[in-house]
C-alpha cells in the first residue's frame, strides 16, 4: 500500500536507527554506505516496487539486487520493516548462525533475490533477470543498486554494454554516488567522473537526482519505467553516512562500526 511522504520519511529515520543499532551490536560492518542508500531503498520497498512480502516467490514481482552487498544492513532493515524477515533478530547481524550475514546470503534469507558481496556482479545478475523476464512476458521490473567505487570493476561495463545492446528496458541501475570508498574518496582512489556521461555513452537513458529526496527518487523510477528500448541509470547523488553528523562524508565510517558511545550519539541525532 502506498505510503505518504511523511510516513516514508519516518520509515527512513527508523531504518537509519536500525542500521546504527545493528552495526553497533555487531561491532563491525559498513555504516556509511548503508546510510547513504536509505531513501532509495525505502522508496523502492515501501512505495514503488510491486512486491508481496507474504508471497516472496510471486513470479511477477519486481526484484531488487543490492550489488554493493556490504551495505547489507540497509537492506536487512528495509526487508525486516517490510515483513520479509524478523525485526527482533536484526541485532544478530554478523553473528554465527544469524540469517543476517555479513553480506546478503540467499542460503539464509531465501527471499533475497541474489547473494552479493563480490563487487561488480549485480548488474550482470539483474541483466539476466531482465532478459528472462522479457522472454517470459512478465510485467516485472528489475532494480540493482551499485556503489560508485564498485563501478571501477570492469564487469559492470561489460554488463552495461550488453544491457543497452539487448535493449533491456525493464532494468534500472541506481548508482549510490556518495563519493567515498574504503581507502578514501573515490576521486583519489580511481575517479569515476564524469559518471552520467559514461552511462550515456554506453547507451543508457541516464538521469541525475538527489538520492535523499524521496519524491525525486520516485519521479526517477517513473521516468525509468516510461523509457522504452533502453535501460535506465539513475545517478543518485548521496552523502556517505547521511543522517549522522560525525559519519557524514567521513571515509572512516565506510567500514568501521560505531563505538557504544557513538551509537548513543547517533541515535540521539536520529531521535
Amino acid at each position: 500500500m502506498p505510503k505518504s511522504l511523511s510516513e516514508l520519511q519516518a520509515l527512513a529515520k527508523q531504518v537509519r536507527r536500525e542500521i546504527i543499532e545493528m552495526i553497533g551490536a555487531a561491532g563491525s560492518g559498513h555504516p556509511g554506505g548503508s546510510l547513504s542508500a536509505v531513501e532509495i531503498l525505502v522508496e523502492l520497498y515501501f512505495d514503488y516496487m510491486h512486491i508481496d512480502p507474504k508471497n516472496p516467490a510471486w513470479p511477477d514481482r519486481d526484484r531488487f539486487v543490492l550489488s554493493k552487498g556490504h551495505a547489507a544492513p540497509v537492506l536487512y532493515a528495509v526487508m525486516a520493516e517490510a515483513g520479509y524477515t524478523p525485526k527482533d533478530k536484526l541485532n544478530t547481524l554478523r553473528k554465527l548462525g544469524s540469517i543476517y550475514q555479513g553480506h546478503p546470503d540467499m542460503r539464509f534469507i531465501p527471499s533475497l533475490e541474489a547473494s552479493t558481496g563480490s563487487l561488480g556482479e549485480g548488474l550482470s545478475l539483474v541483466l539476466g533477470m531482465g532478459l528472462a523476464g522479457r522472454l517470459d512476458g512478465r510485467p516485472s521490473r528489475y532494480y540493482v543498486m551499485l556503489g560508485d567505487g564498485e563501478i571501477q570493476e570492469g564487469q559492470v561495463w561489460e554488463a552495461a554494454m550488453a544491457a543497452a545492446f539487448h535493449k533491456v528496458d525493464n532494468i534500472v541501475a541506481i548508482v549510490d554516488y556518495n563519493g567515498i570508498q574504503l581507502d578514501g574518496f573515490v576521486k583519489d582512489i580511481m575517479d569515476v567522473a564524469p559518471l552520467a556521461d559514461k552511462w550515456r555513452a554506453f547507451g543508457w537513458h541516464t538521469l541525475e537526482i538527489d538520492g535523499h529526496d524521496l519524491p525525486a527518487v520516485r519521479h526517477a523510477l517513473e521516468e525509468a519505467e516510461a523509457t522504452k528500448g533502453k535501460p535506465t541509470c539513475i545517478v543518485a547523488h548521496t552523502i556517505k553516512g547521511k543522517g549522522v553528523s560525525f559519519m557524514e562524508n567521513n571515509p572512516k565510517f565506510h567500514g568501521t562500526a560505531p563505538t557504544a558511545n557513538e551509537v548513543q550519539l547517533a541515535l540521539q541525532e536520529l531521535a
Binding site: P59, R63, D105, M106, R107, E113, A114, S115, T116, G117, S118, E121, S124, L125, V126, L127, G128, M129, G130, L131, A132, G133, L135, D136, G154, Q155, E158, A159, M161, A162, F165, H166
Partner: protein, 321 residues
C-alpha cells in the same frame, strides 16, 4: 594399432558437436532452456541452438564474466541457462562469477567448456584449458562432467539439464572415438567399467578413455589384464568404483588430458588413500604448457597416447611386484 577383439574404436563426432546437437533436442523438450555464448557459437556449436531458437539464444560478446553472472540471473529468474565458451575462457575468466554468483548461492546454471585440453591443436596454450577440472572441482557443490564420446555427451547434457544445481561439462574440439552405443544409460556420479581386469585398473576421463582402451588391448597381448573405468563424472566421484578397483586390482593408473596437479588423478588418489591404499601412476600434462601443432602430434609429444598409458601400467606393475 589394429583393434582385434573387444574394441573397434570408430571415429565419432567431437564432444562439442554432440553437445550442440543435444542442446537443440533439449530446446525442443523444454522451453526454459536458454543458451548464452561469448562470440564462439560457431566453435562451441551452440550455433545449432541459435538457428532453431534465436529468441532463446543470447549473445554476450567477448565478455565471459558478465555472461556467467547474467546466466546466473536468468537461472534465478527460473530459466535453465547453458553458458558456453572455450573452457579456458568460460571457467578461467568466469571463475569468480562461478564462485560467487553460481556455486555459493547454488544457482541452477550449466557451464559448458569446449576446446578443453591440448588436443585443440594449432591455436596453442592461450586457448588450451588444462586446469579447469581442478578449478571446477574447487567450486563447492558443483557437478563436474567430462564425457568421452558422443553418446555420453548427449546423455550427460540432458542429465545436467534435469539436475537442479550448478554443473560444468568439459567438451573437446577434436573428433572423439565412439565408445558407447546411443542407447547406453548414464547416471551422474556413476562410473562405467568398460573392461574387466585383474592386474591393474586404468581410470580415465574424456579423450583418454579411448586411449586407455587401446592400451588395455596392447597390454593384454603381453599377458597383463587391465580393467578400464570411465570416470565421466569427476565430481562427485564414484568412490565405490574406485575403492573396488583398488581392492580387486591393487594398482591404479589415472589418465587425463589435464594438468596432473589438481586433476582427476589427484582426486582419485584421495579416495584410494582414504579407502584402500595402493600404488598409482598418473598420465597427464606435467607442470607445463603445450604448444601449437596438430592434435595427434601434441598428444604424442606430451605423453597422452595409448602407448603412454601402457608404459605407466608397466612401470606401476614393476613397483607393485
Amino acid at each position: 594399432m589394429t583393434p582385434k577383439t573387444k574394441f573397434e574404436l570408430k571415429a565419432g563426432p567431437a564432444t562439442r558437436e554432440a553437445f550442440g546437437r543435444a542442446l537443440v533436442e533439449l530446446g525442443r523438450e523444454n522451453k526454459d532452456v536458454v543458451v548464452c555464448d561469448a562470440d564462439l557459437a560457431k566453435s562451441t556449436m551452440t550455433v545449432y541452438f541459435q538457428k532453431e531458437f534465436p529468441e532463446r539464444f543470447f549473445s554476450f560478446g567477448i565478455a565471459e564474466a558478465n555472461m556467467v553472472a547474467a546466466g546466473a540471473g536468468m537461472a534465478l529468474a527460473g530459466k535453465i541457462p547453458f553458458v558456453s565458451s572455450f573452457s579456458a575462457f568460460a571457467v578461467n575468466k568466469g571463475f569468480e562469477q562461478l564462485r560467487c554468483c553460481v556455486a555459493y548461492p547454488k544457482v541452477n546454471l550449466k557451464v559448458v567448456g569446449t576446446h578443453s585440453g591440448i588436443s585443440i591443436g594449432e591455436d596453442g596454450p592461450s586457448q588450451m584449458s588444462i586446469e579447469e577440472i581442478s578449478l571446477a572441482c574447487s567450486l563447492a557443490g558443483f557437478v563436474v562432467l567430462s564425457p568421452a564420446d558422443e553418446a555420453s555427451t548427449k546423455a550427460l547434457v540432458k542429465q545436467a539439464a534435469a539436475y537442479h544445481g550448478p554443473v560444468f561439462i568439459r567438451c573437446g574440439r577434436v573428433k572423439a572415438p565412439l565408445i558407447y552405443s546411443s542407447d547406453r544409460a548414464f547416471e551422474i556420479g556413476k562410473a562405467i567399467q568398460l573392461t574387466d581386469g585383474r592386474d591393474v585398473t586404468i581410470i580415465a576421463t574424456g579423450l583418454l578413455v579411448a586411449q586407455s582402451l587401446l592400451a588395455a588391448e596392447a597390454l593384454e597381448a603381453e599377458g597383463i589384464s587391465a580393467r578400464v573405468v570411465d570416470i565421466h563424472t569427476v565430481k562427485p566421484l564414484d568412490r565405490a568404483a574406485i575403492q573396488k578397483a583398488a581392492a580387486e586390482t591393487g594398482a591404479i593408473v589415472v589418465a587425463e588430458e589435464h594438468l596432473v596437479d589438481g586433476g582427476l588423478g589427484v582426486r582419485v588418489a584421495q579416495v584410494v588413500a582414504e579407502t584402500h591404499p595402493c600404488p598409482m601412476e598418473f598420465v597427464g600434462v606435467h607442470d607445463t604448457y603445450a604448444e601449437s601443432g596438430q592434435p595427434d602430434e601434441l598428444l604424442d609429444k606430451y605423453g597422452l597416447m595409448a602407448r603412454d598409458v601402457a608404459a605407466a601400467v608397466r612401470a606401476l606393475l614393476a613397483r607393485k611386484r
